[in-house]
């Protein structure tokens, strides 16, 4: 666990906690989030004067929405905005490697103790875990968590998985109809395909055109000969919980 203070960033009042990225990190799939518009964040924090901007060094850092750098920038923006209003205000920025892990979250302890509000730039899971660990302090979201996706190219992320708990990829040529088809259709394209593009957005590929072509390439279209049964939504009762078989005894699950 690498945690080090790297000193001030943009303002004397902003401290950055940083860590070392694994070089493999950028090859991972990511939970993609987008920074909320600044006016929305500013309005959420209207009544507070000592704010911790909590970054997360994994997914939201990879998608340039909520890592160390973005936390520092947001803290600076908040400071400048408050200065413009001649309001007494202090924002500090800190980041841990992952907000979805208690071991890392506890590193925020001292920072949170100094704050009267926290704005987390982690995904929705991280924000909730942070709020759970520090229930005495209001925690606000600084990003809108958008999807589980991949880095298509520099600065472009696209969704790939809706975590449906019943993966169909084996019969769809490795292309997910639940995610990649706008309607999530399991048995083929709707009637709206436009020259291989999606009726919902002509810039996007029609998932079922892609699936059919992939299966054709693999001489496997026969795998789609019969109807696929409806999705079992009872496998995806929210909130989801998974206990690895090796840990069942510890958690008293038969």
């Amino acid at each position: 666990m690498a945690l080090r203070l790297t000193g001030d960033h943009a303002s004397a009042m902003v401290n950055i906690v940083s860590f070392t990225f694994s070089p493999l990190l950028t090859e991972f799939h990511v939970i993609v989030a987008q920074r909320k518009p600044f006016p929305q964040i500013r309005d959420m924090l209207g009544g507070y004067s000592r704010v911790l901007v909590a970054g997360c060094g994994t997914c939201v850092a990879v998608c340039l929405a909520g890592g160390e750098k973005e936390a520092g920038i947001l803290a600076s923006q908040l400071m400048l905005s408050a200065a413009g209003e001649k309001r007494e205000f202090r924002a500090s920025a800190a980041a841990v490697e992952r907000q979805c892990d208690r071991e890392f979250l506890q590193l925020f302890h001292e920072k949170v103790a100094e704050a009267d509000a926290v704005i987390s730039l982690a995904c929705g899971a991280g924000i909730q875990f942070l709020a759970e660990m520090y229930p005495q302090v209001p925690v606000f979201p600084g990003v809108d968590t958008t999807f589980i996706g991949v880095a298509e190219e520099a600065g472009v992320w696209t969704e790939r998985c809706r975590s449906c708990s019943q993966c169909y990829l084996g019969i769809t040529g490795g292309i997910c109809p639940v995610t990649m088809c706008s309607k999530g259709l399991l048995n083929g394209p709707c009637g709206g395909t436009v020259h291989g593009k999606c009726e919902v957005d002509l810039e996007r590929d029609c998932a079922w055109t892609q699936i059919y072509r992939r299966l054709e390439e693999q001489s496997r279209t026969d795998i789609q000969a019969m109807p696929v049964l409806p999705m079992k939504h009872n496998l995806r009762i929210q909130p989801g919980r998974v206990i690895h078989s090796a840990y069942r005894k510890r958690f008293s699950i038969g």
Binding site: G192, T193, V194
Partner: protein
């Protein structure tokens, strides 16, 4: 006892069906008047279900009213707006009021309509909805529970015969047949030739196909590009000719085109019938197309 539409289709006679869009109103007078102008000239009235994702009166209520007025009705059920429980409820309700012909569609995506923020449901897709109705007709709901319906459903399926690429559509058509589809209705076509590749692709299947035809609005033609009307592809030369003719000439030329198309389809022997659609504002002109 089979419905007139079902019997007509089985008899092999050319079936003419007209599509009626439920109004955004609880007053049904105008649509019932419109339907009465078609009486005796059509095999059935196909009742659309929130078409183009625009919210309107319940399709089942209108289908029931049409039945009461002596029309045969085909109820459209879209997967977009309801989950499998509600689809089952509506199917039971339809059976209770003797609406047994049901056309199953996925449904245009919500963002096309007047409630773009709505949650698109698609709990089932159209293949699964067909299978659900087929099973209900045999006495089981989609979860396997016993269910009682008045008679098996006469199940319709939609297809885009002009899709590019066509093969994925053909794959889905075969699934729909396996699931229990009794007849198909194409999305609108504009020439008999447009049906060629599709009919070639299903020639080994004993399909009863109604070709969809459309009386479009001038605005749709003026703004037309592939994709602007979901699942509808209008040949370039026709779009250009209609645009060049101008709005005044369009009304007559498009009506003549559709009337001739219906006649050509009837004479071609390639399809079991037609389903006549009219864009908003042109519904009263359908009656003119039905005259010999």
């Amino acid at each position: 006892m089979a419905d007139p539409f079902q019997e007509g289709l089985a008899s092999g006679s050319f079936q003419v069906v007209t599509r009626l869009v439920p109004p955004k109103s609880a007053d049904l007078a105008s649509v019932l008047t419109l339907a009465s102008s078609w009486k005796g000239k059509v095999a059935a009235v196909l009742v659309a279900d929130n078409p183009s994702a625009v919210m309107g009166l319940s399709a089942l209520v209108l289908a029931e009213m049409l039945k009461r007025e002596g029309h045969d009705a085909i109820l459209v059920m879209s997967c977009r707006d309801r989950n499998r429980l509600d689809l089952g409820s509506i199917a039971l309700g339809a059976s209770a009021v003797s609406v047994s012909s049901i056309l199953c569609v996925s449904g245009d995506y919500t963002h096309y309509g007047d409630h773009p923020d709505a949650k698109p449901v698609y709990d089932l897709d159209s293949v699964q909805l067909i299978a659900m109705l087929h099973e209900m007709g045999k006495g089981r709901d989609i979860a396997g529970n016993p269910v009682a319906v008045s008679q098996p459903y006469f199940i319709g399926a939609a297809v885009c015969a002009t899709a590019d690429p066509l093969f994925p559509q053909l794959m889905k058509v075969r699934k729909k047949v396996s699931a229990g589809a009794d007849f198909f209705v194409t999305l609108p076509i504009f020439t008999v030739d447009q049906l060629g590749p599709f009919l070639d692709g299903v020639k080994d299947l004993p399909l009863k196909v109604l070709a969809g035809v459309l009386l479009p609005s001038y605005q749709e033609i003026a703004e037309y590009r592939d994709g602007s009307i979901p699942g509808t592809f209008i040949p370039d030369d026709l779009v250009n000719a209609w645009r060049e003719g101008g709005e005044q000439a369009f009304s007559a030329s498009s009506a003549n085109h559709v009337k001739k198309l219906v006649s050509d389809l009837r004479n071609s022997g390639k399809v079991a019938g037609v389903c006549i659609n009219a864009s908003p504002g042109r519904e009263p002109e359908i009656e003119g197309l039905l005259r010999a």
